[in-house]
């Protein structure tokens, strides 16, 4: 109960755990995730749409993962064994990654911004269709975000 009250508060430590595990799962830095402007929206959305105990368990496991990993390699291995290899945790991890990458939770967009802020578009050096238009003729050259 105490923990549930704590996670409700986005200023709390558990919010940081959420952001850190999001960083490790998505491969995008906390700063890049924050730049979507949706971090707190996503956190509270999950709280509102998930049985609280499941979220608490996910955050607690995540917290332990961080507390027991001292190098990048260790962290990766622990996530693989404690989260990705566990059916319940794996499901949560997939949902969290999908939320950051595509802006959806169980197939539904969180809001009209979440579609536009999907990170998957950055990976392909493009933009979400219908938003953030790059301008006339931009498509005829290599994306400016690529190194060559």
């Amino acid at each position: 109960m105490i923990i549930i009250n704590k996670i409700l508060n986005v200023d709390d430590y558990y919010f940081d755990v959420f952001m850190s595990i999001s960083e490790s799962l998505t491969g995008f830095s906390v700063n890049e995730l924050q730049a979507t402007g949706l971090a707190e929206t996503y956190y509270t959305y999950i709280l509102g749409h998930l049985d609280a105990a499941t979220f608490v368990e996910f955050l607690t496991v995540s917290k332990n993962v961080f507390e027991t990993s001292f190098t990048e390699d260790q962290l990766r291995n622990t996530i693989a064994s404690e989260i990705m290899a566990d059916p319940g945790m794996n499901d949560m991890a997939g949902k969290v990654v999908t939320m950051w990458y595509l802006g959806t939770w169980e197939g539904t967009y969180i809001n009209d911004l979440s579609y536009k802020e999907g990170l998957v578009w950055n990976l392909m050096h493009a933009h979400p269709p219908g938003a953030k238009q790059p301008g006339f003729k931009s498509w005829s050259i290599k994306p400016v975000t690529t190194k060559s």
């Binding site: 799962l25 998505t26 990705m84 959806t104 009209d112 219908g130 301008g135 006339f136 498509w139 994306p143």
Partner: protein, 693 residues
């Protein structure tokens, strides 16, 4: 029941591109009572001797979609955008209201059919055996709101498949064979193509067009440039062009050189200085009748026309890459632009003013026509629903004995309205039941679409797809050739949007890699690799007219307003299946040459799939709903003459892609626009007669 008494000269059903073009051209002309002739508004002197043409348009879509003043149209369009952002499946119809009172076919409703039971899930009642795979949308402005905007003209031989390649098709319910030449040819349509390209605002480079035809490009285009310069081809196109230019493809009997052509398209780029001044489409009076010309006497430069709410927005394509289903800035043409020109005219002070002679009634679903003893269309029957939420409606009838009625409701709705319009006449003392415009028994038949076979794979280096308009290049090599006596011709657009169509990328790639247990940097890398290399080839295969591919109606199947739903029977023949086999051969060879890793997969569970010569092929619809009220030479072989006028009634026109005798390999809208524009010559002639009486 309410009766509309204030008489109109013209009734148009539908505000899509066909209906809007007619509304625009008619409202640009007035009747000079002294001369007894129709003249262009620009040539009309201020005088009392001018009579305006009064027009009423019925539109099934919501009222809001037709309010075209700046504030309202921006609000409505932003609502479409917001809906688009929130829709999980961003299919063509997704941004627009899904109306129970005027439902639309939706690709999400398509499923395999298990005969004899129809698929009734969506608006269409599909008996198959193959599901018809395309959609359309009933909204102000019609389906061009979500078209892609590709605008190739048809090729000369497309108009004469019988003459050139000996192709004949079955006559309805008999063993007789019917020729399928058009009643018009390419040369006749050429000036109207130029008018359509002007009105739509086509960007392209005439000098880079290359087709497998015997005519020279000088003969085909003449001394001509498109209104706007070419839309830049994508980075991906360049890579594919580099790999394929100068090479051939070997089909079963023929070696075919690859022609990589930048596609002409209805989206804004930079106005071409050589095009110069803007134009007027003007009727010139002939001895009898009229001829439309593209008048060059205007003083103003040609300008790209942007959004209906703000012409300075969308003056150039900005690379939103969402043309289907919606262009956020309206850099892509949609019919609301033409409709707005009909609704607003320049007044004496050069200000835009609402044209009082054009009335549009929205939320009005036309469902039946009545006929009087002279076989004239005497009434149009309408059900007007009162709100977006409710299915309550008011029954309305308008008297049309002295009006011209124009059906422009698309190739599903036009035949549906006609088939629902039965009447009785006394012939030789006998009562005879007839169906409006259906002396030939061709209404609703010959339903066609391009079958889109998709092939997809990974390019050996990043080509950065998912950018730019949907398609900027096509392979035109297979659009014509002797093989057409054996199998369909096709056009091959290169698709700029990765595997989003066949595989629902990028969502499917994210779930695929997650299910493999990838996370963090490994997940990022896998997605970056995959998504920046995705290529998609299209093969849009011509379907021949077939009298058994048809739209009918059946009392059993009605919509929420009690109006019949289109009942569809549809199948492919070996002519098309064989073309898919040949197209796959071409695809395999091109993939190999480009070192594309093939990911194409056709499954037995796909909606549109078949096995031919022991190999499975699947395809999608192209959105090209065509053929259901064909034009032809005689009242026996067709529904309309070449001016889209019904053979059977003195005051009925039926316009749209349904008039196309055959499909060819071009996307149909430019061609339907060209002959719809031409139909105005006949409509003006009829109006002249009407006004003199």
């Amino acid at each position: 029941m309410s009766k509309t008494d204030n008489k109109k000269d013209v009734i148009i059903v539908g505000t899509g591109i066909a209906g809007s073009l007619i509304a625009k051209l008619l409202t640009d002309h007035v009747f000079d009572v002294e001369k007894g002739k129709m003249i262009h508004r620009a040539d009309a002197k201020k005088s009392e001797t001018i009579r305006e043409i009064s027009i009423l348009m019925y539109e099934a879509g919501l009222e809001a979609g037709l309010e075209l003043d700046s504030a309202s149209s921006m609000t409505t369009y932003n609502e479409y955008m917001r809906t688009f952002y929130m829709q999980e499946a961003k299919v063509p119809n997704s941004p627009y209201p899904n109306l129970k009172q005027a439902p639309s076919p939706n690709v999400l409703d398509i499923e395999p059919i298990i005969p004899p039971f129809p698929d009734k899930k969506g608006y269409l009642v599909q008996f198959g055996p193959m599901p018809f795979a395309s959609d359309a949308i009933r909204v102000g402005g019609g389906t061009t709101l979500h078209w892609l905007g590709t605008t190739p003209r048809m090729l000369p031989n497309d108009f004469r498949l019988t003459e050139k390649y000996g192709i004949e098709i079955d006559s309805p319910d008999s063993d007789q064979k019917t020729p399928i030449n058009w009643p018009i040819d390419y040369n006749l349509l050429k000036p109207y193509y130029e008018m359509a390209e002007f009105e739509i605002g086509v960007s392209g480079d005439v000098s880079k067009q290359e087709y497998p035809i015997s005519e020279s490009m000088e003969q085909y285009y003449g001394d001509y440039v498109f209104p706007m310069e070419e839309i830049p081809q994508s980075y991906m196109d360049q890579k594919i062009i580099d790999g394929l230019t100068g090479t051939n493809v070997q089909l079963n009997f023929q070696t075919i050189p690859l022609l990589m052509v930048p596609s002409p398209q209805g989206r804004n780029s930079t106005p071409n200085p050589s095009y110069g001044k803007t134009r007027l489409i003007k009727a010139e009076a002939l001895q009898s009748g009229y001829q439309l010309v593209l008048d060059r006497s205007e003083k103003e430069e040609y300008k790209a026309l942007g959004a209906v709410w703000n012409p300075y927005m969308g003056e150039r394509c900005e690379g939103n890459a969402s043309c289907v289903p919606i262009c956020p800035v309206q850099a892509k043409y949609n019919a609301l632009k033409t409709l707005k020109k009909a609704l607003y005219k320049m007044n004496d002070n050069e200000n835009l003013q609402r044209n009082p002679y054009l009335e549009i009634k929205a939320q009005s679903v036309v469902y039946r026509l009545s006929v009087d003893e002279n076989e004239a269309i005497s009434k149009v029957h309408v059900r007007r629903y009162i709100s977006k939420e409710k299915t309550d409606f008011v029954e309305e009838v308008i008297d049309t004995s002295d009006s011209i009625v124009i059906l422009a409701a698309n190739a599903f709705e036009n035949p549906k309205i006609l088939l629902n319009s039965k009447y009785t006449v006394i012939e030789n003392g006998q009562k005879v039941e007839k169906i409006v415009a259906n002396r030939s028994d061709q209404v609703g038949r010959n339903l066609m679409d391009h079958m889109v076979m998709l092939t997809w794979g990974l390019f050996p280096e990043p080509i950065y797809s998912y950018r730019g308009p949907g398609s900027t290049t096509n392979i035109s090599s297979f659009r014509d050739g002797d093989f057409r006596s054996e199998f369909s011709a096709w056009i091959s657009p290169l698709d700029n949007w990765g595997w989003s169509w066949p595989a629902f990328s990028p969502g499917s790639d994210v779930s695929e890699f997650l299910s493999e247990g990838l996370f963090g940097a490994a997940l990022r890398d896998a997605l970056t690799y995959r998504l920046s290399r995705q290529v998609l080839f299209h093969f849009e295969i011509e379907q021949l007219p077939n009298p058994n591919n048809r739209v009918t109606i059946n009392d059993q199947y009605v919509d929420a307003l009690g109006i019949p739903r289109p009942v569809v029977n549809y199948d492919l023949t070996d002519y098309e299946k064989r073309a898919m086999e040949q197209a796959k051969l071409a695809s395999d060879q091109m993939f190999e040459r480009l070192e594309i890793e093939d990911f194409t997969q056709y499954n037995a569970s796909d909606n549109n799939t078949f096995v031919y010569n022991n190999v499975r092929y699947s395809y999608n619809g192209a959105g090209h709903i065509v053929g259901t009220h064909r034009m032809g030479f005689t009242p026996e072989d067709s529904v309309t003459n070449s001016y889209c006028k019904s053979w059977d009634h003195p005051n009925l026109y039926i316009v749209g892609a349904g008039n196309m005798t055959t499909l060819g390999t071009s996307n149909p809208t430019l061609t339907l626009s060209a002959f719809t524009i031409r139909s105005v010559e006949s409509i003006l002639t009829d109006l002249e007669t009407q006004f003199k009486n």
